[in-house]
Point group: C6
Chain length 248, copies 6
Amino acid sequence: MSPIRKRGRVTTGIPGLDSMLGGGLVEGSAVLISGAPGVGKTTLGLQYLVSGAKQEEPGLLVTFEEFPATLVRDARSLGWDLRALEGEGKLRLLFTSPEVFLKSLQALDSPLSETIRSMAPRRAVLDSVAHFHRLTADPIELRHIYNTLVNGLKREGMTSLFLDEATRLLGAPYRTVGALPFLVDTILLMRYVELDSAMQRAIAILKMRGSAHAREIRRFSIGQHGIEIGEPFSGREGILSGSAHRVA
Amino acid sequence: MSPIRKRGRVTTGIPGLDSMLGGGLVEGSAVLISGAPGVGKTTLGLQYLVSGAKQEEPGLLVTFEEFPATLVRDARSLGWDLRALEGEGKLRLLFTSPEVFLKSLQALDSPLSETIRSMAPRRAVLDSVAHFHRLTADPIELRHIYNTLVNGLKREGMTSLFLDEATRLLGAPYRTVGALPFLVDTILLMRYVELDSAMQRAIAILKMRGSAHAREIRRFSIGQHGIEIGEPFSGREGILSGSAHRVA
Amino acid sequence: MSPIRKRGRVTTGIPGLDSMLGGGLVEGSAVLISGAPGVGKTTLGLQYLVSGAKQEEPGLLVTFEEFPATLVRDARSLGWDLRALEGEGKLRLLFTSPEVFLKSLQALDSPLSETIRSMAPRRAVLDSVAHFHRLTADPIELRHIYNTLVNGLKREGMTSLFLDEATRLLGAPYRTVGALPFLVDTILLMRYVELDSAMQRAIAILKMRGSAHAREIRRFSIGQHGIEIGEPFSGREGILSGSAHRVA
Amino acid sequence: MSPIRKRGRVTTGIPGLDSMLGGGLVEGSAVLISGAPGVGKTTLGLQYLVSGAKQEEPGLLVTFEEFPATLVRDARSLGWDLRALEGEGKLRLLFTSPEVFLKSLQALDSPLSETIRSMAPRRAVLDSVAHFHRLTADPIELRHIYNTLVNGLKREGMTSLFLDEATRLLGAPYRTVGALPFLVDTILLMRYVELDSAMQRAIAILKMRGSAHAREIRRFSIGQHGIEIGEPFSGREGILSGSAHRVA
Amino acid sequence: MSPIRKRGRVTTGIPGLDSMLGGGLVEGSAVLISGAPGVGKTTLGLQYLVSGAKQEEPGLLVTFEEFPATLVRDARSLGWDLRALEGEGKLRLLFTSPEVFLKSLQALDSPLSETIRSMAPRRAVLDSVAHFHRLTADPIELRHIYNTLVNGLKREGMTSLFLDEATRLLGAPYRTVGALPFLVDTILLMRYVELDSAMQRAIAILKMRGSAHAREIRRFSIGQHGIEIGEPFSGREGILSGSAHRVA
Amino acid sequence: MSPIRKRGRVTTGIPGLDSMLGGGLVEGSAVLISGAPGVGKTTLGLQYLVSGAKQEEPGLLVTFEEFPATLVRDARSLGWDLRALEGEGKLRLLFTSPEVFLKSLQALDSPLSETIRSMAPRRAVLDSVAHFHRLTADPIELRHIYNTLVNGLKREGMTSLFLDEATRLLGAPYRTVGALPFLVDTILLMRYVELDSAMQRAIAILKMRGSAHAREIRRFSIGQHGIEIGEPFSGREGILSGSAHRVA
């Protein structure tokens, strides 16, 4: 077992979010990011990796479905040149299957493992864990799979984001699917909320092991340079239900 | 993989909607349009194709159930002569089965593929994706089918609308069915809402990759010349729940 | 395919409803009427047929369960003599099974088909489509059945009402059962609503292809001469939820 | 088929309810009475039969589970001597199985049928139809069973009450179970409602073929002589949801 | 069948509850007590038995899971010495299986039956009926089991309490599980309710055959000597939903 | 069976919670702690064990999934040195499987049993019981398993905490899963609640056998030295629903 040492912080590349997190993610932690389609999970993940690349913390982006080309293009529209970062060895876009990735964490001498190790990534983003939900219908086996993922990435020293697809477009009070929310160290909720007859976005930290963190629910938007954290909501109730109302 | 280039905008034929979309749909994107029966999905799709035809952007309307004749008639009542546009090679009404259409995207030399290619369509409307939901009960296979659809149409350079049947007549907080909402670039919600003791229609953009977009929920109506976007709602909460209430 | 011609209007026999419909039903359209038991679906259907008989538009009432005698008696209490209309060849009460009726639409030379044709009905009421729901558990096959029904009646030139049994006694936000709501041209909702500590009835047009229509939700009652449309509701929210409340 | 004649009214023995029903139940009709345990369905049924017995309209009480002795005792506490009425031939307490009762309606020369006929009952109470729900899991077969019940009792000239067990202790917006609500002529709802921090009882007529009827929801109580209808509720919303609130 | 006689009242040992019940439980009746874990069902049952023991009405406490020792200890903390009452023949703690207990009610000469009879208990508490829910998945067989229980205890002349485990920690609008609510004479609801930001307890009588009873929902607490009935709630709505609110 | 004796109190290490519990947990009791991921269940459990260690009450922490190393590290961030306490024989971190632990409670001479006994723990924490939920799909067998757990730990004289994973991130009105809530002596709810547009934490005692306890719902936070109980909520309704609102 790894020796216990003072754990540093890992910046997310989003100053407002680092602030909510009490200074950034805890180094080596596993982070679940739950959100509906389009709310900004992937943008957050890219911003996290690009930020790492700038600080000599190489990162790994694992996708199971979306061709890296799409990500490369979307990132470009936000001013991020993923291919250039790849060329500099600061980023690795990995397009694989859940099974292969899982095995690479179990068999440390697999080609994929060695490729990953040669780069010594400090950050990882998995987009998305939904593909692991689908590997088995047996909750015990699934729990085992998640354990392998979470512990495998920790063992390699990575601070990793697990992007999770919320099945409801609006509203937060979702049921935990499988054991992942219990296994990770931190949970971020990204939510759409109907407010003032418009679609807004809300972010909140639900769980964060080993750190104080902000409790307020904040607005966020996706601007020209990625995610920007806005003001906390105020005078509203039921934000995480997806349909907020003013305090009477 | 296709080279990355500056992506233009594709007008929807509905000025208010183009404006909400920050100038139109992103060229080459896949757009999910979710709505209850009769709310106006098909009208939006026709308006999109007719608008394209006027700009020398040929379009393809794929239906799996409704005879083109019905569409032709409905379009005529809105002043659109689909048969004439077909005659001019600016529109193609394709009545086929989900299986055949899917195969045409996989086997590039199939008769259907060649027919489609000879016309070089820039726009596509699939009415509706519900027929693909029903091809398999296996979520992994379904995800694969959706991938084939989305990527196949992109590969051919089309900006495509996927019409999706919402199973509730009223109210929005629907669960995502399958992976399609995660695969598309843009999601539009079209909803009935009971407001002031009347049935109103609401439209909102939930997700739009690679573009800023309006966040407000707007009224819309179907007038003599198709869909017209109205004012944003104001002073209401819970519009997307299907039963709005005034702000207390 | 039938030639496209200017489509007329078909009166429902209920002036207030014709007015809501922008002048009546669209000729040749298929209309879904959704309502809880007792709310007045059959009364509306009878009123429609009696009204047609007076205008030399013969009608067909297809029941699958209720003996025509019951309908004849109920109609008499509203002043309508169905047997007399049958004698004059202006109405035909058909008591059959869903399977036989379906086949008559498929095999144009079946005895039933010929009987129907000899009368040349312009209007049809099916009471109720619930019997078709039960023919198969396969949604694709059911969709096919509904297509056969809707298109078969259109082919014969009838403007037809499909009475559909809502499974909740109160409240509207029902899920669409099968594909029928997507296949029909028009959807009318008839609903019970608790209002002012009493059971009221509400009617609204949800969908109407090829026509403008009223958006308001109106009261209706069943009086001595059938359905009478009342005032629109006002100052209420949540009518279609079954339990309206005053605007705060 | 029976000749059509002017249909009289059958008093329920509860003046307030007769008044709500526009003069009583329609002669020969089938009435569904839906209520939670203890709300008063059986009391209403007994009161109906005792009232008939006093007017020389013999009645049949069919139970499938509760021994007649329990009913006899409960009735005595309300001042009704069922055994005496049985002795006078004005009432028959029949304790049987759903299967046997159903067959007696199908085979007109069965011993039970003949016994019933010799008494020539004008009224019937079935306590409860839940026992028929359980005869089959096939909705088509169940619909057939209900048809046999409803039509069999009508054929014998009885005005019959079908007591139906609501599965929720509080609240009304129940889903119709099977086709019975569509087959009967009249539906009465008996409901518990929490009001002013107390358990109240509410009654409403939802459906009544061939008659005008009261629309208001009224209080009722079970007093020394059975059910007594009270005032309509007023200034409340959501009574049938089981948890009423004052109008704001 | 037992002769009908004037039925007395059986005190529950809780004066406020006897008062709500119009003088106590009806002698020989079957009473269902529904409540969430910890709300006080067993305490009510013990109090009922201890009260009986003091009035020379021996009682039987049947448990299927909890060792009598636990009950003995819990009772002691409330000042009740169950072992002493057992020694005096005024109480019998019976730890058995549902199957054995059921058979003892069917085979009157079984060892258990004879043991029970020799003591001639007038009161019984079954803790809990959940164990009978689990004997079979067949609702008809379960209904038969409940009939055997209810009628068997009545036949032996006992006034019996059936403790039922509500599956929701908060809130009342529970669905009836099986037929038991219809078979018993009386239903008491014991509920947790969040009120004024605290966990309160509420009790209400839903059903009571053959007796007038209080309709109000009252507070109760568990004090040093068991359950004490408090004031009725007032100025609240939705108490039985588990989350009351002030009347606006 | 163990002789009945005056039962003492066991401090939780959290003064505010001891106060809510009327002086601490009842000695030898089984306590269910229900909470969403990250709300603080494990922190409470560690605090309980560390507090015991300081008072010469050795404790046992049983985990089934999370490596003790993680706990050790998390505890260190709160100032607790678990390894040191293990070295002093005041704490035992046991990483095992549910099956093995269960058997150790059944077979008193198993190696694990003997190891446990040699330490004579007075306190136990099981993190979490979810692993027992998954041992069987048969509710009767599961009830038996829970009985074995609860009674086995009682028999060994331990006051034990059962950490239970609530499947909803927000909101309390959860359904009891299996029989455990009925078998334990005490139930604590730990909940997230959205309040004033922020994520707050709430704690309440739902059930506590053999003791008076606080009824109010209190805030709590996780500070530098573990859980700290804050003020009761006031002027709010619906706290345990997860989305509180101000009293109107």
